[in-house]
Assembly symmetry: C2
Homo-oligomer: 162 residues x 2
DNA sequence: TATTGTTATACTCTATAACTATA
DNA sequence: TATAGTTATAGAGTATAACAATA
């Protein structure tokens, strides 16, 4: 599976794009902004799912965003344990600036790519994301000799759209 | 440029594949093994270029590989400052095991992808790598007002293939 | 009792700078 | 003087575990 090696390579490309970002908006922060900008208001657990990182890490990123006034947190009427997160006006501006910078770097390196090529790659990556789905670290690393662990209802019922 | 956001996504997928690797072979180490397995014997600076990381980081990874006997280092007769790196027999085995594990994870998530789809994505990623070329961190972050910095012969002459 | 989110801690990975040896 | 590589140090990013508040 040659794809495995290519994936390591893409991580390198991601680093390169990240290096071009200003210090105020490191890659992980921009990733959080992008997720909120693309999918709109959501709660912490959902953001962690989009970012494919543990919720504890997400919590720190969100604190970082809130300290700078880039997001607003409103109470979730249906579950007072959590709050809903969305970009503020300032957050939108920071996101736009970061996205523009990232796009510049990509455009500079991909100058000989046609729009179709870029769209094709983008589409395949989006599809790959969907194929991977929610794949954050999980407490079980069980091999096949643990029939009960995954049975039953591993996920709690969702009481409202999020 | 939607592609910028997709790139963050791929980084997440890379993490997911990395999480499946055993602790003895963390993702960065597997990346080094893969580069040596794919491109064969090379010197440190060339490996750093493939991995898109600073040579100091590469030095530590290589030390890690050497301590475990996964590579052999032979003298470079044309330049005694550097040594040539290549996989040992044990290194080949470790690489094979790691690649297999990574391939398993990918296959599990991409079970509904056709071979053509995978090849297409793999090809586009390879092309993207070539488009980015050598893009490790550089000491100059100069904007356009520095005409002399990049002129002349920025790279030393290559006295032999590496 | 289970779940959401927070905090403390440790580990992986990478970059910068100072240094040695060789070209 | 310049380059290849090493080591020390600092920082970003993430995972694990213990915890508080709510369901």
């Amino acid at each position: 599976m040659e794809l495995a090696r290519q994936l390591r390579v893409v991580v390198g490309v991601g680093r390169e794009v990240g290096r071009a970002l200003p210090p105020e908006t490191p890659p992980a922060i921009v990733g959080a902004l992008m997720a909120l900008g693309r999918y709109g208001e959501m709660r912490m657990s959902k953001l962690a799912e989009y970012l494919d990182i543990d919720i504890s890490v997400t919590s720190r990123h969100v604190a970082h965003l809130a300290e700078r006034g880039w997001i607003v947190r409103t109470a979730d009427a249906l579950d007072r344990r959590s709050r809903l997160l969305r970009l503020s006006a300032r957050g939108e501006k920071v996101l736009a600036a970061s996205s523009d910078r990232a796009a510049e770097v990509l455009a500079a390196h991909l100058s000989d790519w046609s729009d179709d090529d870029v769209d094709q790659l983008s589409g395949l990556l989006e599809r790959m994301r969907l194929s991977f789905g929610d794949c954050r670290p999980r407490p079980y690393a069980a091999d096949s000799a643990d029939p009960g662990a995954l049975a039953g209802a591993p996920h709690p019922p969702r009481t409202h759209a999020n």
